[in-house]
């Protein structure tokens, strides 16, 4: 388990074939340079595309040319990566030069550039994810504004459908990384007692791809939007305007980032657990991230391939999805949902992990049924690959498979139900503290119950005939993704932000945030179950007169729901920048290994690889068993943060101590 950081990452390496070169801060890789690279790449790609293809792929009457747009976006992404310094290392290796080490920095500017520190990357991810979330949220409110009235329109049909599609796509991209990115990257190494991720450069790469995906999907709006919704069904996809290229390239870019994030996390969890961190002691959040990472790695390639096919259909005139020329419109639906349904669980599992992690801390009880919880996550992950055709129940494709997909879809509710068994069991005769993270966790259980049960209605083929493609589906997946995942995410954020930033979030504002978000979330989406049952299809701008009251209730609540996020933003800005209050080392008295590290966490987390002695759920026992042996002087007792003094041991002193790591082998 001994790690040689210098050998494997190149970090801290001084010397090499040439002396480290002092580069100006402005010329070095950072977000600004990445933006310049993106713009330059975009312009260059656009020019090339027009030179090679303006003759034959002009989109009628638009002056747009799909080849130019695709090349502009792709080369723009390469320019972005080059500007962010993501290509320095591989290019230097290719030409046989010793790559320059990244300049370690303690200044705030490190948050704007490439880094190998998983904690910096985690915070960078947090900011990008919130950008995604708030952009998508604004678009959602635009949709609800249009739906205030059944026949009077705020937007033209083109703008409306572009807004709907942009909202769906941005939110799906956001939700696929909302926990994996910020919390997964920040917490997993700390939770498993590792000093770093397995592939720090891949981790940074996944972040910059994720951010590039945000920019690419934003370009859809000036390019005229796309008309297909987030599902991008062909052949509508093939005839859609230029924004469709942003969708296809954007999903491919995000997809590659997701694959990288996934296998990096999986490799880290499998290989970098500290001695004693056996599978039976791994925190349940890590189990959920492992299951999610497996899904990311195995499901997302299908999306990238489908995006490539779609791009070729639109630019090189291939016919993957064109029925008349030998392709099949079912092919896109199959490929998309073969990714899309595991994607749904990519968005659910980390939420389960967070709430299962939060509950024991605020009930002062061990997690009930730890094995069941872990097994449930693995079960969900496995089954999620066998349910995708329930999205195609009315499509006319192989009806003989319908009972099978009905069965698998309903079976998946069994392992999903495990999380309720675990949650309810943990509450039994507990001592519940209503802190902000706990409120969000409980809210998640309330919402996800409604979301999950409505999913069983959707899985039943006869009922599906009525509710398929209606607002019922929309309400269902907003209850699972927003009510489940986003609530869990904010719970996790309130829970771990003191650790991540060293500052305390205001508790009263946090409670205001929770209650407004919880009440208005339910008032926004619960009426939509009825709207759907009463016959309103998704993505329409005109609806029956008698549904106006329900739609208006939903719309008005949606504005308040949007406002509830302002409370969070206000709280965040105030607590972090305007009036920061230092957080105590372990404000929730958690036993989690991540809370036992000094605050702020030093660059390589642990001065010595800890030896894990127990799982982090030993609440309610009086013997005060230590969770981990963090070092010769820092035997950490339950609920007590590591003593001060170990904080200053930077990474420089590590190499010498590496050899003296505990000789006990990991218990696997």
């Amino acid at each position: 388990m001994a790690l040689d950081m210098q050998e494997s990452t190149g970090a801290e390496r001084s010397g090499g074939t040439r002396p480290p070169q002092a580069r100006s801060r402005w010329l070095g890789p950072h977000a600004g340079r990445a933006l310049v690279g993106a713009v330059a790449g975009y312009a260059f790609g656009h020019w090339i595309g027009n030179v090679v293809a303006s003759g034959y792929t002009n989109v009628q009457g638009s002056g747009q040319n799909d080849v130019a747009i695709v090349l502009a976006l792709s080369i723009g992404v390469v320019g972005w990566l080059a500007g962010a310094g993501m290509l320095d290392y591989p290019l230097a290796k290719i030409i046989g030069r010793e790559p320059l080490p990244p300049t370690p920095s303690k200044s705030w500017t490190r948050y704007f550039g490439p880094t190998l520190d998983h904690k910096v990357i985690g915070l960078q991810y947090t900011v990008v994810v919130l950008l995604f979330l708030f952009t998508g949220g604004l678009l959602a409110m635009a949709i609800r504004t249009e739906l205030l009235n059944p026949t009077n329109h705020v937007f033209g049909p083109g703008t409306y459908i572009a807004v709907v599609s942009e909202h769906g796509t941005i939110m799906m991209m956001m939700a696929s990384s909302i926990v994996i990115g910020p919390l997964g990257n920040w917490l997993v190494p700390l939770m498993i007692g590792s000093r770093r991720m397995a592939f720090p450069r891949v981790e940074a790469f996944s972040l910059w791809m994720f951010a590039a995906g945000y920019l690419v999907i934003l370009t859809a709006l000036p390019l005229g939007g796309f008309q297909t919704g987030w599902t991008g069904y062909a052949p509508l996809q093939t005839q859609a305007s230029g924004g469709m290229d942003s969708y296809l390239v954007g999903f491919a870019v995000i997809g590659i980032g997701m694959i990288c994030a996934g296998f990096n996390l999986a490799a880290t969890i499998i290989n970098y657990r500290a001695p004693g961190m056996s599978w039976g002691r791994v925190p349940i959040f890590v189990w959920s991230i492992l299951a999610t990472a497996a899904l990311l790695t195995l499901a997302t390639p299908t999306l990238v391939a489908a995006g490539l096919f779609g791009t070729l259909d639109r630019t090189a005139q291939t016919a993957f999805f064109v029925n008349e020329h030998g392709g099949s419109s079912y092919l896109w639906q199959n490929l998309f949902w073969f990714f899309g349904h595991p994607e749904v669980y990519i968005m659910a599992l980390p939420g389960f992990g967070i709430v299962a992690e939060i509950l024991p801390v605020f009930t002062r009880k061990p997690l009930f049924g730890y094995r069941v919880a872990a097994a449930g996550m693995i079960g969900v992950a496995l089954l999620s690959f066998f349910v995708w055709q329930h999205h195609l129940f009315q499509s006319g494709i192989n009806p003989d498979m319908r009972p099978l997909f009905m069965l698998t879809t309903e079976l998946i509710s069994i392992p999903t139900g495990f999380i309720f068994l675990v949650g309810l069991g943990t509450l039994w005769k507990a001592k519940i503290r209503y802190e902000v993270p706990m409120l969000f966790a409980l809210g998640m259980f309330f919402n996800f119950l409604i979301g999950g049960i409505s999913g069983v209605f959707l899985s039943d083929v006869p009922v599906n005939v009525t509710v398929h493609g209606s607002f019922f589906v929309l309400a269902h997946f907003h209850y699972t993704i927003m009510g489940g995942l986003v609530f869990a995410f904010f719970g996790g954020l309130y829970y771990w932000l003191p650790k991540m930033t060293g500052k305390t979030m205001d508790k009263r504002l946090g409670k205001w945030h929770f209650w407004t978000m919880f009440i208005f979330f339910n008032l926004t989406f619960f009426p939509l179950f009825f709207v759907g049952l009463l016959g309103q299809p998704r993505r329409v701008f005109e609806y029956a007169q008698n549904l106006q009251t329900l739609n208006d209730l939903s719309s008005v609540s949606a504005f308040f729901l949007g406002a509830s996020f302002l409370i969070f933003v206000f709280n965040f800005v105030r607590s972090m920048f305007i009036d920061p209050k230092p957080a105590p080392p372990n404000p929730w008295h958690s036993l989690g290994l991540e809370w036992q590290t000094p605050m702020p966490v030093p660059p390589y987390n642990f001065t010595r690889i800890p030896v894990v002695l127990a799982d982090p759920y030993h609440y309610g026992t009086t013997d005060g068993q230590a969770v981990a042996d963090l070092g010769p002087r820092t035997l950490s007792l339950a609920g007590v943060g590591a003593p001060a003094g170990s904080a200053d041991l930077g990474s420089e002193t590590v190499a010498g101590e590496e050899g003296s790591a505990d000789p006990r082998p990991p218990i696997a």
């Binding site: 049909p157 139900g417 309810l424 519940i432 009525t466 993505r539 309610g620 026992t621």
Partner: protein, 305 residues
Amino acid sequence: MSQGDETHHFRRLIVVWAVLAVVLDVVFYFAVGPHVPPGAMTSTASGQQFDFNVLFMLALPVMLAVWVYMGYALIVWRGSRAGAVEPEGGPKARGHFGIQVGWIITTTVIVLGVFIFGSIKLADAGAGGGEGPDPLWTPTSHDVLPIQVIGQQWQFTYRYPTFGGFETRQLVIPVDTTIAFHVTSLDVIHSFWAYQLGVKADANPSEDNIAYTTTKQLGTFTVRCAELCGLWHGAMYNYGRVLPRAQFFVWAQSTEHQIAANTKNLPPFSYTYVPDANGADGGFYPDTADPYSNVEQYGATTPSK
């Protein structure tokens, strides 16, 4: 904590839950059940309504179990309550074999029951969903009226192959009749959703997607497109009528004769159509060698009254 204390909590929870579950289920069944969409205009609509009600009456006790328990726990076991005691840790709090196994068995039994129930209902002529070109579950009736639904951006049109293949923009169907909707598209994917009829089938280009239903009541119904098909998807709806049988045949035969001249200009009836790449006016032609093969499937071209 004594064993008696646990039984005490448990008994209270069970009683509250059981009373609520029974009362609410009964109230739902009698007060709400008959009004649940999509109503009872056809066999498939009432089938879906019945399915929904059964699922809801199963789901309600499950949800109540969680809510009652959580509500109880959040009040009784709150840490701020006077006399709140430190919870017990140890192996007892980490799991309970009986409860875990019981939970797994219960959920599995419910899920398998729901699956068997849904499959039986599905086998009843496909429950109104699109079954593709080779339906697996077909109606028992031999008197099936075929109607073609053609989706295109952004409207539905309907062709009546047993009445010379005339085409209308209003869906008119007879009551007490089993109808086979042959749904196809000329461009992108649409979805034919006849809401009150309890029928939904995607309209795919070059695909014949068949859905069955049997009409039971007279009235009007709404047809909406349920699959995003581009700019005017939101405006892609119209209304249809269920007429008495005799009235329907009068309507169909008179319409057939009235618009016979128009029908001649249409492409011959076929289950699917392909855009004519060589036609200057962008027309369509049948996608099959024998466009009138429906005769084999449905017998005489004009059904008896």
